[in-house]
Structures are given as structure tokens and as C-alpha cells.
Symmetry: C2
Subunit: 137 residues, 2 copies
Amino acid sequence: MYLLERDRTVEESVEDVCRRWGGEFHIEVVDSWKGCIRDWGGKVVHLTMYGLPVDDVIGEIRGSGEDILVVVGSEKVPGDVYRMADYNVAVGNQPHSEISALAIFLDRYYEGEGMKRDFGGSMRIIPSKEGKRVRTS
Amino acid sequence: MYLLERDRTVEESVEDVCRRWGGEFHIEVVDSWKGCIRDWGGKVVHLTMYGLPVDDVIGEIRGSGEDILVVVGSEKVPGDVYRMADYNVAVGNQPHSEISALAIFLDRYYEGEGMKRDFGGSMRIIPSKEGKRVRTS
């Protein structure tokens, strides 16, 4: 995850989750979003409600076999992002949460299997009808 | 949308989106979450990472044909919610964003068609490869 501004709260929260639940998420603070996009070795996907429907382009994106950089803008996104992205992708053409757009994009990208992934953490949930069951190893 | 505490910012934002983009979303402030769940006429679905995998139960939930109240807890959720819910549903058994969980749940519930829905607003996006195209009627 590349962030334009250092945010210790986000960093600590991600580190804490990884320590307990696994996964290799890490955060890097970058000086320039343009440099970050330009230097990316694979495809750049910008999530925006103005883009092409995710279901129309996800096959092509997945099929590229390249690493994907997903760009999620929080407020007004500069026009250059639209031009620099390989794909401007809409998760619905209505206003929506950017975090939700990212979740649905990843869900489509991994064809629903992402949710079932084992991140190798020391804590694991045993799914239950009611209550909380956690196994710690 | 039922909220336990009045939040004018959320209300105004939702009203503003509906005015421009359509949809019948509205917000009601309730005194008691227990009353809200108890008085609901249909099924109550509580989204929690401790629950049963969404893909295992979504068919049964959709098949009930009843109205669905989705309960999303922001911080520590009281144990009673787990017991009062008809379904405790996990959108992945890892820590995640509650908003994303709601998005994926709705996406599964509507079998991917929710995103394509026309909310009848005066503003509509024309999906494009690059840039922003909006039609106002």
C-alpha cells in the first residue's frame, strides 16, 4: 500500500493485523503519486465511478498476468490519474465508498476466492452460527 | 438505514446523493437497537467475521423472500446481537472494513446485478475509458 502522507495510525493498525492474522501487507510512504504510477511495472487500474463497468474489463485485466496497482482516490482525483491509468474501472456508476469499490474489485479479480484465502496468521476464526470461536496457534 | 445516534453529516450526504443520483435511501434514528431488531418483520443478518461464510448461507437468505435487515457493528458488538440475528454472516474470516462487508454481502445478495441498477436519478454517468461523462436530465 502506497500512501502519499505518513499516517502512523494506519501503519500500526495494518502491522498489528498482520502480526496476529497473517498476510504480507505493508505500507510505503511515497513523495509523488505520479512517480509511483509511472514506475509501476505492471497494469495500473484506477477505480472511479466514471470508468468502464468492472465486469466488462476484469477478464482482460486478470488475463494480462501482470501485477496490478489499484489507485483509489479519496477526494477530487487529478485528471492525470485518468490519463496515466491503463484502466479506469467503475464498480457501479453511482457514488459509493472507495473502500467498497476496492473490495468488490478484488473480489472480482480473485473470482470470489480471495475471501477464502489463508493468510497464515497465528489467529484463525472457526466460522460459527453464533458467537466467536478463535483458534490461536 | 437505522442509526443509533443522529448524525446530520451522514443524513445530509445521503439526502444530497439521492436528490442527484436517485434511490430511496433514507435514515431513521432509533432509540434502541434491540427494539429495532426485535420489531423487524423479516430476516436479520448480522455481518461479522466470526460468522458462517456468506457463500454458504446467501442462497438460503435470498430464498427466504423476506425483507432483510443487515446489522453492521462499528466497534465491539454486544453478544445479544449474535443471539438475536437469524444469521451471523462472515464476508471472509479476517479483519476487514464493515462497509466492504456490506458491499460484498449486497453484491452476493443481488447476484452481481445491484451494481447495474438504475436508481432513476437526474444525473447519470456515461461509462468511459477516460475522463468523466455525465448526462443531466
